[in-house]
């Protein structure tokens, strides 16, 4: 079964009302179709998945984006979403998991989708729930500016306890203090903030797709933290440490419970059956770009782009000792003349650029320095010469085979770009100073340090998948890169890589087809 999207229609907030209106909308659309005759295209499903709408999830679904189109595969059979806990509102705010993990956005949420929902519903969609879909619950919720971080940067408010709790839920005595330097959202003062035991940071939702790769463990050790991988409290297996940006949840059950209580404002607990249903769905979803900006299939001419390859491959392989990362596009390095003749010059040039981009990603080395998790205690030294694939090293996915908590500087001064829209915290290390930032650190988001309680972990954010990027701008955990070029430009600023303009464009083109 395959479906395609249509022009968005408004979705009012209350669920029951939404269903009635959806029915009314269907009737109206049908009427419109009759009035304009048979030449009108058949109505196509809305790209926005409303909580509780009951649409069936097909085995394959394509959604257009400005770089081409994204394909999402559901391994196995189509899913009836009516009554399914991923798709039904479980809490008081009318949201479901799907509200913030939209299939059209590669199971994440783009800022563009948030903006569209705001326009369609006048800000009444459950997406904009005060709890975390606004800059702070204390703000007037009917104003756009109260939701500016979600609308402009795709950021949700994430509330973390202070003092911190570790990945296993155990409290930890942090080796640093935290103070609020600036609080533009108002959610780190008064009833919020460290003094109230509730730290607000703002982060992009991570894609709930291609999950077997994020759960895969390639080796028994975490070289960044210097210990064997922790064991899952539910099944005793080693944990990947790659689920959450701050590694606060080591398995899907803990992540679900965290999300249900927080994002969905669910009063009770998820039942084992609900957890099982959500896990089953999440392990069946694969999402990746399927067509490029010319509408050409990215799995054509010998290439292996798209989600099918993801679905059918074994997860957890290290690209440097197996299938090189992004070698899916190696066939485009040498396109046969007879095949090239069937492409326009622009199409041919684009494919060659993608193939070059894959090589630049793997082979263009630069000095990586002052990046905790990479250049600290692991043993590589500071600096170390390597390429993008040093950290984005898992075949097919480009996430880290090891737990991916590294500090690229995206959230922490002086490397982070200046941001007036985010809270700024001052961290003071109580024991050893941070090796690069010193004793006092200024950060927009302490990241992994809010889980580990260690000042050495300030600014570390878990690497994520590079798949489906075209469907889910902006990028990095705090949305600092508004587009794919912004990602490349950040790395160029951060590490003085010396990319040529051609190399930058090649990387952008590569990322656009992932």
């Amino acid at each position: 079964m395959t479906t395609s999207p249509m022009t968005p229609q408004p979705n009012p907030r209350p669920i029951r009302l939404a269903r009635r209106l959806a029915l009314a909308g269907t009737v109206a659309l049908a009427g419109a179709a009759i009035s304009v005759g048979a030449r009108s295209p058949a109505p196509r499903p809305d790209p926005w998945w409303q909580a509780g709408e009951g649409r069936a999830f097909p085995e394959q679904i394509d959604y257009p984006n400005k770089e081409g189109s994204l394909r999402t595969l559901l391994a196995g059979a189509p899913l009836k979403t009516r009554g399914h806990p991923f798709f039904e509102p479980l809490g008081s705010n009318g949201r479901a998991c799907v509200t913030c993990h939209q299939p059209a956005d590669s199971m994440s949420l783009s800022a563009a989708s948030a903006q569209r929902q705001w326009e369609r519903t006048g800000g009444k969609d459950p997406l904009f729930a005060a709890i975390d879909g606004s800059n702070c619950p204390t703000l007037p919720q009917d104003r756009r500016e109260s939701h500016s971080l979600l609308l402009d940067k795709g950021l949700f408010r994430i509330e973390r306890p202070w003092p911190v709790k570790q990945f296993n839920g155990e409290p930890a005595m942090p080796d640093f203090t935290i103070e609020v330097v600036r609080d533009p959202t108002g959610c780190n003062s008064g009833q919020y903030g460290p003094a109230a035991g509730r730290i607000s940071v703002y982060r992009r939702p991570r894609p709930v797709a291609n999950m077997k790769y994020l759960l895969a463990t390639g080796f028994p050790f975490d070289p960044k933290q210097g210990h064997a991988l922790p064991l899952d409290p539910d099944d005793g297996k080693m944990q990947s440490g790659n689920l959450m940006s701050d590694n606060r949840a080591g398995n899907l059950r803990i992540q679900m419970e965290d999300a249900a209580a927080g994002h969905l404002q669910m009063a009770g607990k998820l039942t084992p059956a609900q957890i099982s249903q959500i896990r089953d769905f999440e392990l069946r979803i694969y999402s990746a770009q399927q067509a490029d900006r010319f509408g050409q299939d990215v799995s054509a001419l010998g290439a292996e782009g798209g989600p099918k390859k993801l679905r059918d491959s074994q997860p957890g392989a290290l690209g440097s000792i197996g299938k090189p990362v992004w070698s899916e596009y190696a066939a485009w390095e040498k396109i046969a003349p007879e095949e090239a003749s069937r492409l326009t010059p622009a199409q041919l040039a684009f494919r060659q650029s993608v193939a070059r981009g894959a090589r630049v990603f793997r082979e263009k080395t630069f000095l990586i320095f002052d990046s905790a998790g990479i250049t600290t205690q692991v043993g590589f030294g500071n600096p170390v010469r390597n390429s993008c694939v040093f950290c984005h090293n898992m075949s097919q996915m480009g996430n880290d085979v090891a737990p991916g908590q590294v500090d690229l500087g995206t959230t922490t001064l002086p490397f982070a770009d200046p941001r007036s829209d985010l809270p700024l915290f001052r961290i003071t290390c109580l024991k050893a100073p941070h090796p690069y930032y010193g004793r006092v650190i200024y950060t927009y988001d302490p990241g992994f340090a809010l889980t580990s309680g260690k000042c050495a972990d300030v600014g570390k954010i878990t690497l994520q998948s590079l798949r489906g990027l075209s469907a889910r701008a902006p990028y990095f955990s705090n949305g600092l890169a508004r587009d794919l070029r912004g990602i490349v430009d950040y790395y160029e600023r951060r590490y003085s890589i010396g990319y040529t303009e051609q190399e930058k464009q090649d990387l952008v083109n590569l990322m656009s087809v992932l």
Binding site: P220, T376, G379, P383, F390
Partner: protein
């Protein structure tokens, strides 16, 4: 610049000849990074012994320097020519990062190519790869892991490999319990005019770090810890013949 580089390189063998291959050297220095580019991880690490005026190539340490901090260099003079990086080659060698800040210094590659990266011997296979089959009868056995000076961190492509070897054997041998003893080199030594000694608490920290990983690697087998200060050198092959490295260790005793 090239002339100077060649002159330094030409001098290096003379220094090496003055020192016997295999001779032990130890000193404290601010590291210098030479940005050679023969692919990933191909950069060189150099360290100058201010006492002798000699420049050493310390790139082959399993734990490499940080250009912002002093390093304690411990190594043996290698027979390798100083052509890769431009310094008398130390191998085996260790470079422990100290806390004293250094002025960062980076050299261009000049005429030096560095070394192409090759996977070290102590490199873990992926989890899915088969591990060696241990053959019985199984009796009490001791495994050893090693640490950087002043630290308790499990070093990638060194300790993790040693621990994986131990865990693989323990998993098959199923001893009654494991006793992890951490050691710290607390006896003061004079190096480069400085007195160095590890803190006594580090012995316990090392034992606990190894024990925590063992509880994850071989769940179900009781793990006890002990610690000992004033560590003396031991002749263990994986310390690579470096006495100071062998002092900074943790021993895992599998008891039946």
């Amino acid at each position: 610049m090239k002339t100077i580089a060649f002159a330094l390189a030409a001098l290096a063998p003379a220094q090496a000849m003055a020192q016997q291959t295999g001779e032990l050297v130890s000193f404290i220095a601010c590291p210098v990074y030479r940005d050679t580019d023969s692919g990933r991880k191909s950069g060189c690490w150099l360290a100058d012994d201010v006492t002798s005026g000699s420049r050493y190539d310390v790139s082959q340490s399993p734990y490499k320097p940080d250009w912002s901090f002093e390093v304690l260099v411990e190594g043996r003079i290698s027979a390798e020519a100083p052509t890769a990086c431009g310094g008398t080659v130390l191998g085996p060698v260790r470079t422990s990062r100290l806390t004293t800040p250094c002025t960062r210094h980076i050299l261009p590659a000049e005429e030096f190519k560095g070394r192409k990266y090759v996977l070290p011997r102590r490199n873990n296979d992926p989890l899915g790869a088969p591990r060696p089959v241990a053959t019985g009868p199984f009796t009490d056995r001791t495994f050893t892991t090693y640490f950087e000076f002043g630290r308790d961190f499990i070093i990638y492509q060194y300790d993790d490999w040693l621990l994986d070897q131990a865990a693989n054997w323990i998993r098959q041998a199923r001893p009654k319990k494991l006793v992890v003893t951490g050691f710290a080199a607390t006896d003061p030594v004079e190096i480069s005019g400085r007195t160095l000694a590890e803190p006594a608490a580090l012995a316990e920290d090392r034992a606990e770090v190894i024990a925590r990983s063992l509880r994850r690697l071989v769940p179900g087998i009781p793990v006890e810890t002990a610690w000992q200060t004033g560590a003396k050198p031991v002749a263990e092959p994986e310390a690579d013949g470096l006495p100071a490295q062998s002092q900074r260790r943790a021993e895992i005793r599998a008891l039946f």
